[in-house]
Symmetry: C2
Subunit: 443 residues, 2 copies
């Protein structure tokens, strides 16, 4: 097997055991990128020489016996709305074609100083918000979107170009691409991973997350972030696990692939001994999707004012309109939206306990839609973003067109470590064909 | 009168009427800085030639008949935890001695593209959070602190070195220096002014604000930020204004200067026809100060992890300790703190209406304490920060040592425009000796 085909956890172990060098891994990833970039187009910035130089430094550090971080030697892709000290941050916007910020975003600094090799910047919907789309295609069918706004990070990890990458989520920009690209993803609890150095779109909603190709990969990055309770998370068992199967208040937007994924995941868990019961959220939760939209729009009117003033002529029309909301600002509606979210958060947290361990719910309406004019529908992600709860995306089935569809596991706020333990137990059951992607893409 | 002695609104009018050029104003401010910087030490970065060049460009723009922004030609100081495209952002930290970020923070972009001249970077408590203090002294007595963490911005505006500056507030870092330096300050509603490009310490608490030397100055900047409802705010009248005089749940921390300021402001407003009644906050609000501390500490454990990993040896001890909280993270306590804040916010908003127009409350315990080892006590600011409500700082009296003490007016969330209208009416009453600072500092 080529090194690029290894998951992050597999590659990390091989590097620690000196069966693989960081340079070999980086060169292997670069060869995969070179072979596939003409089709997948995941990258906005890539400097192969810089990547190899960093890998050599990592190998030297290991050879010298220096203490190594949990991500030592692992190539890491960074969505191009996230600042990197040594690469441009363009936000895929004509307003920032060459901007280079001489300082890492918090998340980049954390993984860099935990040993990761920052490989390059991945394509994204402009500002992770509106305007122009990424050029990236779905690795499993280039006529389809990889999802968005974390398009390049989703496709790069899904296509075996890098083992790890950062995405961000304001609506469904992180977990939806995980579903469309057959990947694992963690969106941690809001406030648990610093969002400093990410392009801001909505302060209440924007959350950084990471992609890998197994739960163990997600745990490795969580170690770098020192997610509280991680070392003490123990192991969970599927047998007796109380799973709330939640169609969510927006089930009318589901598609056949999404139905298949949710049903398959529920049945597989039940067969493995879990207690799977339907979970209906309280009626107040029906308003959360609209509340998310209102909060996102109003906070966006603050976030994009600088570009509106500096670059009106080249600012995308949908972003301009968001800023112009300030002329007809619905203060009462916005306060009601905040109040609804604020009151639902503890109610959701309190559902967990003796009767409920984890929520199982769609990660996307179905498989990736055709065309690059869309990145798909965020509707099954938005309420979890607004609730600030941790979500783990897990691959599950293939939809009617043969494209992957995942599901997500959701826990209460700040239970990230426990949720990862539950995901470790459930993933081998839910992701019933773990080699499907390797076979399909790598033959 | 020297141009540097003009308020922002006065200078803006003079520039528009072509009685003053931007270059004359900048040169005047630079002369004031040159005369005073050896004592006040407000600046971490200042490039007089760059400032003069920008002023000349502004004058040329005006001469050419180009449309001018509301802040045209006005020198603006920027706290050095806020990114500026053309100057270093050191955060007053040995970790970032020369870092230059090639992109403006949102707030800087907004005022720059509204005509302001970014004058330089002002000294600050390290990261606006902990570690080393600013070297800045109080303009009215160099043995005393100007407050913090917005030390340099507070002193620079208070000392007539620039008419406007940005501060930030996580505890009491913006409104407290307004009190200590005889200044006007607005801390807008959280989420109404983008905090992108500010050093993050706590996502729930960090808020950008601005200083001026009159309410009209604060309104000018609010225009640049397109604060909703500003154009329709109308005028308020002190006669019949319902003022809730709020000692706040932390009154046991008040000092003689703070008592004097609150009593004087209440009496002056009453004499001018306002209906001033004591306002006691509901008992639940007694927990907000502790909730703020807990949220600030826990969110700080995420915010400073990058520096902990990259620069442990030179990271200040108090910041290190905050990161190490992740090892004994109190998830239940943190969720309870969020829940308390979330439930108090709408309760506070609902106090306003037929029975209450505005809250009058201390801006600081009293006058600036002696010594630069302290920046004073944020206790009278923290709960308003956590409540996300807009606050306007207004100068009021002199304390036992002859140093200024202000008060603050507070409104419900998103009422910033109305609060500014109320402050426009109240300020001439509360700030009974508006020429005191000019006389004291300028003779």
């Amino acid at each position: 097997m080529q090194p690029y085909a290894l998951s992050a956890a597999e590659a990390a172990a091989a590097i620690r055991d000196r069966q693989l060098s960081a340079e070999e891994l980086v060169r292997s990833c670069l060869s995969r990128i070179a072979a596939r970039d003409g089709q997948v187009k995941a990258w906005l910035f890539l400097d192969p020489e810089m990547a190899i130089r960093k890998a050599r430094e990592a190998d030297k550090k290991q050879a010298a016996g220096a203490p190594l971080g949990p991500l030592h030697g692992l190539p890491f892709g960074v969505k191009d709305v996230i600042d990197t000290a040594d690469m441009p941050t363009t936000q895929n916007s004509p307003i920032y074609p060459t901007t280079q910020v001489g300082r890492d975003a918090a998340c980049v600094g954390i993984v860099r100083h935990s040993g990761a090799l920052i490989m390059g910047k991945t394509d994204t919907v402009e500002f992770a918000s509106g305007g122009r789309k990424a050029l990236t295609t779905n690795p499993f069918n280039p006529k389809h979107t990889p999802g968005g706004s974390s398009s390049g990070s989703g496709a790069a990890v899904g296509d075996f170009q890098v083992p790890l990458a950062f995405g961000t989520q304001t609506g469904g920009s992180h977990i939806r691409p995980a579903s469309f690209n057959n990947m694992y993803g963690l969106k941690p609890t809001w406030s648990l991973a610093s969002r400093e150095g990410l392009r801001m779109s909505s302060i209440t909603l924007d959350t950084v997350g990471w992609y890998g190709r197994s739960v163990a990969d997600l745990v490795l990055v969580a170690e770098a972030f020192r997610i509280p309770g991680l070392a003490q998370r123990g192991t969970a068992s599927v047998k007796g696990l109380k799973v709330g199967l939640c169609r969510s208040p927006v089930w009318d937007r589901i598609e056949p692939g999404g139905v298949a994924a949710l049903e398959a995941a529920g049945k597989r868990l039940e067969t493995a001994g879990a207690i799977v019961e339907p979970l209906e959220l309280p009626p107040a939760f029906n308003g959360l999707a609209a509340a998310r939209d209102l909060i996102g729009a109003h906070e966006g009117s603050a976030a994009f004012l600088p570009e509106y003033l500096s670059s009106y002529g080249i600012l995308a029309d949908d972003i301009r309109k968001r800023v112009e909301l300030r002329e007809s600002y619905d203060s009462a509606g916005l306060l009601a939206a905040y109040a609804l979210a604020d009151s639902c958060r503890p109610v959701f947290d309190a559902l967990f306990g003796p009767k409920l361990d984890v929520v199982l719910t769609p990660a996307s309406p179905g498989e990736a839609p055709e065309g690059l004019h869309t990145t798909g529908d965020a509707i099954f992600n938005g309420i979890w973003t607004l609730l600030h709860v941790p979500c783990v995306g897990i691959p599950c089935v293939r939809g009617p067109k043969g494209l992957p569809v995942g599901i997500q596991l959701v826990g209460p706020r700040l239970s990230d470590a426990k949720l990862l333990a539950i995901a470790e137990a459930c993933a081998p059951v839910i992701d019933a064909e773990p080699d499907w992607a390797r076979k399909t893409l790598l033959g």
